[in-house]
């Protein structure tokens, strides 16, 4: 069996396994086991991929397999990965693994919880391995739908309305996306011949420019909604605030990345002329996202809201970088996806753990947590530092690659927006330090907090997995960056040759 298909089979088997368990203990043990295997598979994939590249394989996509499953419309189940997909898969595996341990103590309907969670993960894995647009879209929906249940059933606060809002907005995105994908499909054979959903095949032909102009905004905004593009980001604060810990982790850590990944893999790669033409609009929107999200975060009181706005800012940077359409900036955008995925997952995990102890997320009701729960607090500081771009942690590598890349652009407009976007590093520092200062430092505000329990083993496992990944990327970013750069070459090449400006 193709190793990529294994990435779907393992979660599906895990779900089936959970069906046979009776209670929380069984369900979580099976989930943890399954996701550990998944992590191993993903790691194997990374090594196999690097091995192939080292052996001199220069195909754009590797591990390709192909089954027709709807012949008359030429829909295939086609899998294949390049370096970008591989690192995204690795990210997903890590975050899901950490997410399982972060939700170790979900007692209410725990079997159903784990099933939904893993179903969501299956969708994400499927999305990354697909190179058939239809299958990709199918998996995208598989990833989005369980979110409704996960928030609506296991959430907190105004969970039903948040779940509704989130799902409806994402479904709105899907609707746009579907228009875009069908637009691509029906223009995939301008010179006659069978229509196709296969990304690689479509990338070889040129979709007529008029069609691109029309369908590019649909596709880009469709993915952009998931990637928290201003002004379509408002599902994110409410959704994250209501979602249970693991769901926030997965959602901000992985699902929002589908947006960025799709935006460049589908929208920009297949419709390069339109991407060049319309990039400026989206560059303005994303630079607004970056700064606006950061400013929005300064004023919030709720830990999850702070993080959600911070995600808006960081994810805005992802799209911003991708739209710069040069190798370095896109490389940075993808590293930023991974980096943001890891650290925001860590943040949400920590917030969940802190909330589980203090039963409040209002930062003004807490204080001095460093004294009572030092391990959690130290990890929180590390996550914060990663978020504000401290060298040695992943955020720095990503941000710097983005800024350096974007600034190499010949156009003055691009350089000026880069400066505007770069100003977010200051604002980020302000809101991160504000939270850290209020939440962790100072005297202990509430006497009830004096006897809080510090991190348990499964929480530590969850946190340290992510911390190690963050620090690993931050300290030795070269292999990651090279892997991505390598795979970006054909994409950037295609984008460059269609640049009419």
């Amino acid at each position: 069996m193709n190793i990529l298909t294994l990435l779907i089979v393992v979660p599906v088997l895990t779900i089936i396994g959970i069906l046979f368990t009776k209670d929380m203990k069984g369900a979580r043990a099976v989930s943890a086991f399954g996701m550990t295997i998944q992590l191993i598979v993903a790691a194997t994939l990374v090594f196999m991929y690097l091995g192939l590249r080292k052996a001199g394989v220069t195909d754009e996509m590797v591990f390709i397999s192909d089954y027709t499953w709807f012949k008359s419309l030429n829909i295939h189940y086609t899998t294949g990965v390049d370096g970008i997909a591989v690192v995204m898969i690795a990210l997903t595996a890590i975050v899901v693994f950490a997410g399982i341990f972060a939700s170790w103590e979900v007692e209410y309907l725990s079997r159903e919880f784990f099933i939904s969670l893993i179903l969501l993960a299956t969708g994400v894995f499927g999305f990354f391995i697909s190179i058939d647009l239809f299958t990709m879209f199918l998996f995208y929906e598989v990833a989005v739908i369980p979110m409704y249940l996960l928030i609506g059933v296991w959430g907190s606060g105004p969970k039903e309305s948040s779940a509704m809002k989130l799902t409806l907005m994402l479904m709105g995105g899907s609707a746009l996306l579907m228009v875009g994908i069908f637009g691509i499909y029906f223009n995939s054979a301008p010179n006659g011949g069978p229509l196709t959903f296969n990304i690689l095949e479509i990338s070889k032909i040129n979709i007529p420019v008029e069609a691109q102009r029309f369908f590019f905004p649909f596709t880009f905004i469709g993915f952009g909604i998931l990637g928290a593009l201003f002004p379509f980001h408002t599902w994110s604060p409410d959704g994250h605030a209501s979602a249970p810990t693991a769901v926030s982790m997965l959602h901000a850590g992985v699902l929002m990345k589908l947006g960025g990944y799709g935006a460049f893999r589908v929208a920009m790669f297949l419709m390069p002329e339109a991407a060049h033409e319309q990039a400026w609009i989206f560059i303005i929107l994303t630079s607004i996202s970056v700064v606006y999200g950061a400013f929005g975060a300064i004023w919030q009181k709720d830990l999850k809201y702070i993080n959600a706005y911070s995600s808006v800012s960081h994810c805005g940077l992802v799209l911003f970088a991708l739209l710069m359409m040069n190798e370095t900036a896109m490389d940075g955008g993808i590293i930023q996806m991974i980096s943001h995925g890891l650290m925001t997952a860590l943040f949400f995990a920590l917030i969940g753990m802190i909330y589980g102890r203090t039963h409040t997320r209002n930062i003004y009701e807490m204080g001095g947590l460093m004294k009572v729960i030092p391990v959690l607090s130290v990890v929180y500081v590390i996550a914060g530092l990663a978020s504000l771009g401290l060298p040695g942690l992943s955020g720095f590598v990503a941000e710097m690659t983005v800024f350096v890349g974007a600034f190499q652009h010949e156009d003055l407009f691009h350089r000026i927006v880069t400066i505007i976007a770069a100003s977010s590093i200051v604002i980020t520092a302000v809101y991160i330090l504000r939270v850290v200062g209020i939440l962790l430092f100072g005297p202990v505000k509430d006497p009830h907090f004096e006897h809080l329990r510090d991190a348990t083993w499964f929480e530590k496992l969850s946190m340290f997995t992510l911390v190690i990944a963050i620090a690993g990327i931050g300290i030795a970013p070269l292999w990651l960056s090279d892997t991505i750069l390598d795979s970006l070459k054909p994409i950037v090449h295609k984008l460059a040759e269609t640049n009419v400006f």
């Binding site: 001095g368 890349g405 600034f407 520092a429």
Partner: protein, 635 residues
């Protein structure tokens, strides 16, 4: 032959990791000893490097730039790459010595000073982290490596200032320090980006090549009427100004004194704050050849800061704050000196003087801080009006403190005299106004230092909670060592070691400058002696005389308040809050509004589904008619 130099930063890094991860499981003292030993090794290696570099295998002509170690860290594109490496040239070797020496002394000193503190291991871990970052900054081979470590020293400074994290003032100070320097770093980053855009390289080797080949692109590029190189270099200087606390980015430094005193000595007096000076020196060639306007700005900023800080220092009561403002003032000196310097030989006197002063200042300012720490340790107070007559109780501290005061006041033949004299000469040759300012500052410096000295060690004996006693040996040995260094480092032949073009040139004493500057120093001391030797009412009267001026100075000219206004009022209230409001009530409301409107419309139009058969029939027939009209008659 310099391969071992990579160990100099790596040892502290390893110690940081080990202490940080495992330290909590050990007895505290093990961390301390481990850190001290490690730093000792680093120090020995640095001194070895310096001796081999400057004095070994004697050579004629320029000192070479040696890169014994370099490794690719991150690729941006074919030309833009970040490498991690070790670069040895006169200034970096000199800085290696400075950093490791002070750090080593502070490590030893902290064994006594921090003894029994909660978080002793944490303290040592952070010290190691800082030392690692600072060393990495010093030996950076390219501007991006420098930026990386620049950020890391920023964060270690943040962690160390906020060491007493339960004290709100310390937390606030650490936050302030980080954010202000971060803001400055933003400028630095933009500067780097502009440089990289023009030159397509980060390497110092290429950037600082006097032929300026990499800047060929920059010719004629300008933005808003100012040449792009000036923009770039001013922005880079902004980073330096943030770290070196130049006006108006100086506000974090006095507050940073909330950290433990050894930290103040290490970071906020001797090493990190000179990073800005070091940065300008590192890129001096670029400044000189590509952006002379930026250099001019640096000179004026430096000059203004030194005067400004010296004036404020006169009125402060917290001894650490006096020292902090004194540091500001001295950093201003160094910046000014770089700003007025030319390139090559005698012209480059300012450059040499700046580096020289950096070196001597590190020694005597660290000494001052450590001595101040010793005093605070004995008295448990930071305020000089709670001190007096301490010379009896703290003899070693007293002597070393006096030596440091004399050094900073520029009394010959102590080291401060030499370095300050060179700066004054450089300023005199270049710009008479700045020279005047510096001359005045020299007098002010002597005055406020001796005000401090007399207030602490002379004057009336206060009533102390328990009799102050001299600090333990771990604390006094560093004091004595640094006093020794303060006295004798002035005789180091800097003019043949650290020069702008790395070539030897001859210097000589300019009596026309030296004599008046010594005299004004002595006058300052004399004033202080008159006013503060004995308890007297004169200072208070004087303070009253100056009235508003005094209050303004005491409140540091309200710069803090201005900043507070900008951040709290403008950013929080007028930007962030509206943004949050806008997001909730406009953007989100719009998105929610789509849903609400849909619901409203459906509520309204559900009345059409009335169950009234005849309404349906009417609609149906009317619809058919309309369709017929449209389809048949194209209306």
């Amino acid at each position: 032959m310099y391969n071992y130099t990579i160990l100099i930063p790596l040892i502290p890094l390893v110690i940081f990791l080990v202490t940080g991860l495992l330290g909590m499981k050990w007895k505290p003292i093990i961390s301390g000893l481990l850190g001290t030993t490690g730093l000792g090794i680093s120090w020995v290696l640095s001194v070895m490097t310096a001796i081999t570099y400057f004095f070994g295998s004697h050579h004629e002509g320029a000192f070479e730039t040696i890169i014994p170690f370099e490794k690719l860290w991150l690729t941006f594109s074919e030309t833009l790459q970040i490498k991690m490496g070790v670069l040895l040239d006169p200034i970096s070797v000199m800085m290696l010595v400075v950093v490791t020496t002070i750090s080593f002394m502070v490590h030893i000193y902290s064994l006594g000073y921090m003894h029994g503190e909660k978080g002793f291991q944490r303290f040592y871990a952070f010290l190691s982290l800082f030392t690692f970052s600072m060393l990495g900054l010093v030996i950076a081979t390219n501007i991006f490596q420098m930026y990386i470590f620049w950020e890391l020293v920023g964060v270690s400074s943040f962690l160390l200032i906020g060491f007493y994290y339960q004290k709100p003032s310390a937390v606030a100070a650490s936050k302030k320090a980080f954010i202000v320097t971060r803001f400055a770093d933003f400028g630095f980053l933009i500067g780097i980006l502009i440089l990289s855009f023009i030159t397509k390289t980060f390497d110092f080797a290429k950037l600082t090549n006097p032929d300026g080949a990499v800047f060929a692109n920059a010719a004629g590029m300008s933005f808003m009427g100012i040449s792009v190189m000036t923009w770039a270099m001013v922005l880079v200087f902004m980073g330096g100004a943030g770290k070196s606390a130049m006006f108006p980015l100086h506000i974090w430094l006095p507050d940073a004194m909330e950290g433990p005193t050894p930290v103040s000595a290490l970071i906020h007096a001797a090493t990190m704050v000179v990073a800005g000076v070091y940065l300008v020196a590192r890129l001096f060639v670029v400044y000189h050849f590509q952006a002379p306007d930026a250099l001019e700005i640096i000179a004026y900023v430096g000059g203004f800061t030194s005067l400004f800080a010296a004036v404020i220092a006169i009125t402060q009561h917290d001894i650490k704050r006096v020292l902090a403002f004194s540091t500001l003032s001295q950093l201003g000196y160094m910046m000014l000196s770089l700003g007025v310097s030319g390139y090559g030989g005698e012209e480059g006197l300012g450059y040499m003087a700046s580096m020289f002063h950096l070196f001597t200042h590190a020694m005597f300012k660290a000494l001052l801080f450590l001595a101040a720490g010793s005093i605070i340790h004995a008295v448990h107070s930071n305020y000089m009006y709670e001190m007096g007559g301490l010379r009896k109780y703290l003899p070693i501290t007293h002597i070393t403190f006096l030596i440091a005061c004399l050094t900073i006041a520029g009394v010959p033949p102590l080291s401060g005299f030499f370095s300050k004299d060179e700066i004054l000469v450089a300023a005199f040759n270049h710009n008479k106004i700045l020279f005047g300012v510096e001359f005045l500052v020299a007098g002010l410096t002597a005055f406020y230092m001796f005000r401090l000295y007399f207030n602490i060690f002379w004057g009336k004996d206060r009533h102390y909670h328990h009799t102050p006693h001299e600090s333990p040996l771990t604390m006094t040995i560093p004091l004595m060592f640094l006093a020794f260094a303060s006295i004798f480092s002035g005789f180091l032949p800097f003019h043949s070691m650290v020069t702008s073009d790395k070539m030897h040139f001859d210097t000589h004493l300019h009596l026309a400058v030296a004599v008046p500057s010594v005299l004004i120093g002595l006058i300052g001391i004399a004033f202080a002696w008159l006013l503060y030797k004995k308890e007297s009412k004169v200072p208070e009267k004087l303070a009253k005389q100056f009235g508003i001026l005094y209050t303004a100075t005491y409140n540091k000219f309200y710069i803090d308040e201005i900043y507070l206004f900008v951040t709290k009022k403008i950013i929080f209230n007028y930007i962030s809050r509206p943004v949050a409001w806008f997001d909730r009530h406009i953007v989100d409301a719009f998105m929610v509004g789509i849903g609400t409107v849909t619901e409203k419309i459906s509520y309204r139009i559900k009345g059409m589904q009335s169950g009234q058969l005849q309404h349906y029939a009417f609609m149906f027939v009317a619809g058919v008619l309309i369709l017929a009209l449209v389809l048949v008659y194209y209306i």
